[in-house]
């Protein structure tokens, strides 16, 4: 079982980062346990986490959603899933993970993070290293959906 005390800061961080940096309202849906590695989207980034817990966090966007978010983030329209849009997925992952770690540190739960890796393409996979359950939380925005996945070693 994943402790909600660890997961909730990642969800709060997701909403906070998107609102602050891209003026995007992200609404979380019902979390579920994911059984396979297939990414439910077109472009993803994954970041490794160490310290009080070992695991990883991934952010998976549909093309329509990330193009809209990147346009807001960078102040210019993006019509293609190009290098700049992919880079934005990495930086968003970095910021969300950082904000979540800051929230967890307030409760004495100290985590460190690596540098995000960006992957993409139809049918790409997300390889979490942790053997524990993989919690997926779908989010909706006015421009489409994205997913946050968190997995920790048990």
């Amino acid at each position: 079982m994943i402790d909600v005390k660890i997961i909730n800061p990642f969800l709060a961080a997701t909403m906070h980062v998107l609102k602050t940096m891209a003026q995007v309202d992200a609404r979380p849906g019902r979390p579920f346990l994911k059984k396979d590695d297939l990414a439910m989207g077109d472009v993803s980034a994954i970041i490794g986490i160490t310290g009080a817990a070992q695991g990883s966090m991934a952010l998976i966007f549909t093309e329509k959603c990330i193009k809209d978010i990147a346009s807001n983030l960078l102040g210019e329209p993006f019509t293609e899933l190009n290098h700049e849009v992919r880079d934005a997925v990495g930086e968003l992952t970095n910021m969300i993970c950082g904000d979540a770690r800051r929230r967890l540190a307030e409760d004495g739960f100290i985590l460190q993070a690596g540098i995000p890796t960006i992957v993409g393409g139809k049918g790409h996979t997300i390889m979490h290293v942790a053997n524990g359950p993989r919690l997926a939380v779908p989010f909706e925005t006015n421009a489409g959906s994205f997913m946050v996945e968190v997995a920790f070693q048990t």
Partner: protein, 126 residues
Amino acid sequence: MAYKDMVAMVVDDFSTMRRIVRKILKDLQFREVIEAENGAEAFKLLQTNKVDLIVSDWNMPVMTGLELLKMVRADERLKGLPFLMVTAEAQKENIVEAIKAKVSNYVVKPFSPAVFAEKLAKIIPS
């Protein structure tokens, strides 16, 4: 010196954050913004470019922002440069480490342009 006469260097491994910071600095009327992808590239550029402000990420491959800060503070010619750390590493011990290394100020990600401008104004009044 006013912002309009100043050259800033933005150091970040993600082009997204470089572009966000570049846009804020240009909106604040900075004359020129130079970019580097990591601390090592930044330090090399500092040898040949006159820069009035460094805005650096913390967590980067090759050379981190903290390592760059220490190298800048140890360099006779560069040691007085205003150094603004833009970081997701906002845990207390990280901030203490940066202050010990004589960072001028820091901005925690995520941030709004107004917060960035406020942090900058504390080290370089506009």
